[in-house]
Each structure stands twice: as C-alpha cells, then as structure tokens.
C-alpha cells in the first residue's frame, strides 16, 4: 500500500516535471534563431515555397496555437512527426533506444566491475599498491576525453590488431569498444566515490563496536561497511546511467553508432522541433525511472530507509 502510494506520487511528480520541462523547451527552441522550414527549404527555395513548407510543418500558426496542439497530442502519447524527415518521433526514438540501452548497460557494467572492487580495495588497504593504482586510474579516467580514448581504442583494436570492427552497429561486437570508452570515465567517478564512502564508513563508531564484538575484518568490511557505503555509490551510478541513456553523443560520433545522442544532436542542429521535444520528454521519463529504481535499491540496501 505504502509502495503504491509512493508510485502514484512519483508518477504525478513525473507528469508535472515533464509538463514544466517540455513547456520551457517548447518556447526556448522557438525563441532561438533558426527555422526548420528554412532547413528543409535550403538556400534556393523561394519565399512562397518556404511558406508552403511552414504550412506543411505546422509552424505557420501562432506559437500559442502550436503549443496547444502539441499538448493535446502528447496526452495521447503522440509526439508527432519529425519536421525534417517526416518519420514518426516515437518510431525514431524507439528505433534508437535498444542500442543506447545496450551500450549504457555494458558501459555501466564495465564501470562497476572495475570501480567497485578497486574502490573497496583502495579504502581497505589505504596507501597500498592498489590504492595508488586506483588513484592513478581515476585521475586518468577523469582527464582522458572519451573521444580520444575511443579513437585510440579503434586504432589499436580495430586497425593494428583487427579484433573489432571499425564502424557499423550490426552486432554486440560493435558495442564492446564503445562500452569501454564510455565505461572508462564512469568507472573513475564511481571508483573515487566508492573509496571515499568506504573510508568514511570504516571510520564510524559502529565499526569499533563490531570489532569489539569480535567480528572478523572480513565481516566488518564486506557485510557492514560496504553495504552502507553502497548507498552513495548506487546514487552516483544511477545518475551516470541516466546520462548514458540520454545518449552518449561523443562516443556515438566516434564509433558511428546510431544512438539517441546523435538523433537528438542533429535534431537540435536542424531545429527539428517535434523531435527535440520528444527527446526531452523521453530523457525526463528515463531519468525518473532510473531515480525510482535507485530509491527502491536504497531500501533494499538499508531497510531503515523507508520509501516515503
């Protein structure tokens, strides 16, 4: 019951968030310079042609009317058609989503596999080899731009040692290098956070109590401290995951992947209003779902945290 109430409240909040965000976006993209009809028309079209294109795109009517039309469409989950390509926005987004989802899951998995063990090791054995290694890694991970790492990975593992394809998106094999390029920097952030959270937990009073009680170091570290430290880690991982689902534009460019990031990037370049709006709403929903999942995870990790 409590959970149900929580979900309903969450849902209402999501609807409100989307309404506010989409309204802001709706007007902002119409205020900035650029007109989708002119993008379609190119530079040779006449003024009459441009006006006809505006009619076809529905941008010939006042902005207020366009807004009302758009609102009445989205309550029916219809995001309209792309002004540039004529394809349905729903279709364009859903077509791209599986790839982006797979890439994000792989990326975050790689991040977790590297970062959490290394972070815990660094915290438990402070100033050891692993701690220095972790520090160097996280410095590098945060400093190395992902497009550079992506290009280097391609050069080494697709050109010099041709283990992976240079471009394309037909199989999971195409996603390994991009996932590494994406996960590398995420891992650095998660690693830092894991170490800091773990160090903090290990210095708490309940650790002393546990030790006095005669628990083994192993029990203390991995059962008690790690579990508590995970709360912060889950939060940051969730946020990172959300960003990746919004599309990892740079990685998609380098690896020629048809993901959401490139879809939305070109939509902005071309002032494809319906696609930009649909994209924003989609990302907002994804973020809310990820946050929701994170909240559920909290209560799993620490039953004392009641969802409320």
């Amino acid at each position: 019951m409590e959970l149900l109430l929580f979900i309903v409240r969450r849902f209402l909040r999501l609807v409100l968030t989307i309404l506010i965000i989409s309204t802001i976006i709706f007007f902002v993209i119409r205020v900035i310079p650029g007109d989708p009809a002119l993008v379609v028309a190119g530079i040779d079209a006449s003024d009459d042609d441009i006006q006809a294109i505006r009619v076809r795109l529905g941008t010939d009517v006042p902005v207020g009317v366009q807004y009302v039309r758009w609102l009445s469409d989205i309550v029916r989950f219809d995001f309209g058609e792309s002004m540039i390509s004529g394809a349905s926005v729903n279709k364009l987004i859903l077509e791209r989503f599986p790839l982006t989802l797979t890439l994000a899951v792989l990326g975050i998995m790689l991040g977790i596999i590297v970062a959490i063990p290394l972070g815990v090791l660094s915290a438990v054995h402070r100033w050891s080899f692993w701690d220095y290694f972790g520090m160097v890694y996280s410095q590098m991970g945060m400093a190395i731009p992902s497009f550079w790492l992506g290009l280097i990975l391609l050069l080494v593992f697709a050109v010099k040692i041709p283990l992976f394809p240079l471009f394309g998106s037909d199989s999971l094999k195409h996603l390994i290098l991009p996932a590494i390029a994406l996960g590398f920097a995420r891992a650095a952030v998660i690693l830092r956070l894991t170490r800091a959270a773990m160090v903090e937990e290990l210095s708490r009073e309940y650790i002393i109590t546990a030790r006095a009680k005669g628990l083994t170091d192993r029990m203390i570290r991995y059962k008690h401290a790690l579990r508590n430290a995970m709360i912060a880690v889950v939060t940051i991982t969730g946020i990172q995951f959300g960003y990746m689902l919004g599309g990892a534009i740079i990685v998609e460019q380098v690896f020629s992947l048809p993901g959401l990031g490139r879809l939305f990037l070109y939509a902005i370049y071309q002032r494809d209003f319906p696609l930009i709006q649909g994209g924003v709403v989609f990302i907002a929903i994804v973020f809310s779902l990820v946050n929701f999942a994170v909240d559920i995870l909290y209560s799993v990790l620490n039953p004392k945290i009641r969802i409320s």
Binding site: V40, D44, S256
Partner: protein, 501 residues
C-alpha cells in the same frame, strides 16, 4: 574479489561469442563500401533540398534527362525531346520497356503524376516555384509527355535533369506510399535497407534500362561522421571509396600503397559575401579595398586544400565562366589607400559570421580576418550554427561579412537568378537584374552567353562578394575500384559504372 573478476571475464567472453555469432553467416557478394559523412534527412527527393538526399537517391531514381560526365544534358528516361519554335511546348519521347522496382511499367502517366506531386501545395517542395513554369502537361500516349510552359524558359531542361525531378511510380503516389523512408524508382539500384545514422544498403536492379549496368551487385553507404575513422577504414580496406577527403589526411593516404587519390575541380563558388546595404560596406571603395586586401590563392590553398581563383560569381569550370581575376589582384597598399579615401578605420567593427559546422569556411574566415586586420579593418568573428546561418544571414541579411561556398548549378540561372534585386548581399543593380531575367527567357548558348558575360562583368566590378575561387576536391579509392563518377554540378554519386578490377 576473485569471484567478481571471474564473473567479469565470463561476461566479456559471452559478449565476444555473441558478437562472433552475429558476424558469421553474412558471407556473400563483395559489396562496395562507401563512406557517407552524414545521414540523409529523408529519401523523398520531392520534399527536401538536402544534398545528402540527392546524393543517396541518385542510385534509386532516374530523371527524364541527366548530365553526363562532362555536364552536358543527355537523354535518360526520355530518349529524345523537341522544343516548339516559340519554346513553350516541350515534347519528351519516353524510353520503352523501363520498369519500376515494384514491377510497374514506366509510362507518361508516372511522369505526369510525379510533377503533379512536386507542384502540389501539400507536398510543399522547396522546388515548387522552380517547377511553376509548367502550365500544364499532356500525355497523348504512354510514351509521350508534353510540357506546356507559361513562358520561354531556358533553365527548364536543367530542372528536369536535377534530382528533384525524379520520377516516382504513379500507383504508389496515389496510395500515399511512404517515400520518405522507402523510395521506389527506376534507378540502377533498389533500396534494401536504411538504418538511420548507420547505413544505406542498395542492391542491383537487374532490370535496369541501361544494358549491362550497374556492374556492382551491392553498394553499402556507411554513415561515418568521424573523418579519421573513414581514413583508417580506407587504408585497412573496410572502405572502398571516400567522396571527399580533408587535405590534412592526404599525406597519410598517399603513403598507403592500396589507396589512389584523384583531384578534380569542384563547381563550388567560394566567396566572402558582404552586406552591401550596410555602411561602410555600401561604399564601393570599401568593398574594393576588401577585395584588394585578400590573397585569394593563399586562402584557397590553405583553407580549402587548393583551387583556382574566379574573379566573378561563376564557377571556374562552367561553360558560362568569364575570367575577371585581374580586376582586383592582391594589393594591401591599394586597399589601405582606398580605405583611407573612404574614411574607414578600425573604429568601425565589422562582424564576420562563420557557419561553425563547416570547418573549412571557419578556417578560411580566420584567414580573411587576419588579412583584413593587416589593412587596418576591425573584424570580429562570430560562430553560428547552420540553422542560424540560413535564417539570420541568408534570409534576413543580418550580417556584415560571412563566408560560404555556393554549389554549382546545371544552368547559370540557378547561380545568378535573383541577383541585382537584393538577395542576401542586398545588392541592387537594375542592369544586372534585367539581363539575368532576359537570359533565362532566351534559348541558345551563344545568345545567353553574351548576356551572362555582361552580368558577370557588372558583378565582378561592383564586388558584392570577395570572389575566392573554385576549390579542388580529392576523392580517394581503393586501388582496385574503377568507374566511380560524381555527377558534374549536382555532385551526386553515380555507381553505375563502378566495379572492382
């Protein structure tokens, strides 16, 4: 910890294996792998102005006439045509036995339906006005179409030979087929698959009307935004043809024994337009000074990878080109003197708007700025995106200076139409405007050439632009590829004669 590591290794192995499974089982004919820099907006040739669309659908659609390798307009879906003495009636005799990809036989009804589609208001074609010269169409029989024009119009044949005059099957037009993503034409290749932002796959049309063509069974256009990936793909053999390579990448490609480079002159008109209605640019002396201040060959060589100077508003290789390059040679001293005479110093700020996604124009813009600064002008660069460039600079003339390249046109009217009556440079000249209109209504190269020579002279002298030149384009191939053609002036990709040696 060990457990986690093992688990990780396990996962990676699973992924690799799935990857290999996916990759296996696709061994068939060797396709031609072509690198495309961006995703076409749509594949409907009647609804867009996007170059990438026309470059892509050139393989799917045919037009009644088309430019050959030398830019001369030759028969395609029409075998021949006659023009009436008053140039108002154009009769096209269509090719027999041509089939659409869906099996429909090609007839005059398809031609009529296609042009009606372009002319329809709800299609909102960017080329509707251009087609507006068609007053009516008659189809006396299945293989004859007659266009009745509302006035004599020389550029009409060029219009029919352009990608936006593609012929679509009437049966599908009538049913509202989704031509945006599923094009059906009479062209040399059929669309097999289009994965947006990833690839366009074409397979051979066995019933193509040109005997023995196309030679390839399959063409894949890979959409790869990152140029270094394209270069590596070419060197390693994963890419067979790159339509245009950056001059920075040329040394690396030259070093590869398997890659052949071919340089040719584009039909681009590279310019720095000036807003001639805005002081101080309304003073012709200032515009002349700016022209003297620019070392045109240097900018062409460094920013655009080489080219030939033009001196007026026509591409160098055009049959209508006339040389005026001696009019404003590089002479910074003369530029300074003219600016002094006009009383313009660095207290006047000139804004130079550069389209940021065109890195070559940005590079050129920085060189323009440097050269203009040297003669004492105060030029500020502002980077803007393409949509803003079209709406603010091109349509609203909100600029002082900008840098752009105008694409070549099949007919000189496509290049010059509208100048003298404003356009984005806000340049008004009744003589030029009158001559341009007269030339469009005149049939015959010789007669038109006389008029265009005068127009080009006026434009060369009045300098609403800095005329830089036509640049070179370097196309790169794997050495075993032959017969790839780029349609002159339209810059579309023609794979009909392409094959592996």
């Amino acid at each position: 910890m060990r457990k986690a590591a093992k688990f990780g290794l396990f996962l990676v192995m699973i992924m690799l294996m799935t990857g290999m499974l996916f990759a296996a089982g696709s061994k068939e004919v060797k396709p031609l792998n072509f690198a495309l820099a961006g995703n076409p907006d749509t594949l409907d040739p009647h609804k867009t102005s996007g170059t990438l669309t026309f470059q892509t659908v050139k393989s799917v659609y045919d037009t009644l006439a088309e430019p050959d390798e030398n830019g001369v307009i030759v028969p395609a879906l029409a075998e021949s045509w006659d023009v009436s003495a008053d140039s108002l009636t154009w009769t096209f005799h269509l090719r027999k036995g041509v089939k659409f990809h869906n099996g429909d036989a090609f007839t005059s009804a398809d031609v009529k339906a296609s042009f009606e589609r372009v002319l329809a208001e709800e299609t909102a074609s960017p080329h509707r006005k251009e087609m507006g010269i068609i007053a009516s169409m008659d189809t006396p029989d299945d293989l004859t179409i007659v266009f009745n024009l509302s006035g004599p119009h020389a550029p009409f044949l060029a219009t029919l030979a352009s990608g936006w005059s593609a012929i679509l099957p009437k049966s599908l037009i009538d049913t509202g087929h989704d031509f945006d993503s599923l094009p059906v034409g009479t062209g040399p290749f059929k669309l097999e698959e289009w994965v947006r932002d990833s690839k366009v796959v074409f397979s051979k049309n066995d019933d193509y009307w040109m005997k023995g063509l196309p030679k390839l069974d399959k063409v894949i256009l890979h959409i790869i935004p990152e140029t270094s990936v394209v270069v590596q793909g070419l060197i390693s053999g994963q890419i067979d043809v790159v339509y245009i390579v950056d001059s920075d990448d040329i040394p690396m490609l030259e070093a590869s024994p398997d890659v052949t480079l071919k340089e040719n002159l584009t039909s681009l008109i590279m310019v720095m337009p000036m807003n001639t209605s805005k002081p101080p640019l309304d003073d012709i002396r200032v515009r002349q000074a700016i022209n003297y201040a620019i070392d045109k060959q240097k900018i062409l060589d460094i920013a655009y990878g080489g080219g030939e100077t033009i001196g007026t508003f026509m591409d160098r290789g055009n049959a209508y080109y006339k040389d005026f390059t001696d009019l404003y040679p590089y002479n910074p001293e003369k530029a300074k003197a003219l600016l002094k005479e006009a009383g313009v110093g660095n207290d006047v700020e000139l804004k130079l708007y550069l389209p940021q996604n065109y890195t070559l124009h940005v590079k050129a813009g920085e060189m323009y700025q440097e050269m203009l600064t040297k003669v004492g002008l105060n030029v500020k660069i502002q980077l803007i995106d393409w949509s803003t460039w079209i709406s603010d600079v091109y349509r609203a003339s909100k600029f002082d200076l900008t840098v752009i390249g105008h694409t070549g046109k099949l007919d000189p009217d496509g290049t010059l139409g509208g100048y003298g009556e404003g356009k984005y440079v806000q340049w008004f000249n009744d003589d030029a405007a009158g001559l341009i209109k007269k030339a469009a209504a005149t049939i015959g190269y010789e007669e038109r050439k006389v008029m265009y020579d005068q127009v080009l002279e006026i434009m060369a002298k009045e300098v609403p632009f800095v005329y830089l030149g036509s640049s070179y384009r370097t196309t790169a191939y794997r050495s075993n590829v032959t017969g790839f053609r780029i349609t002159p002036n339209l810059d579309t990709f023609d794979f009909r004669w392409t094959e592996f040696k």
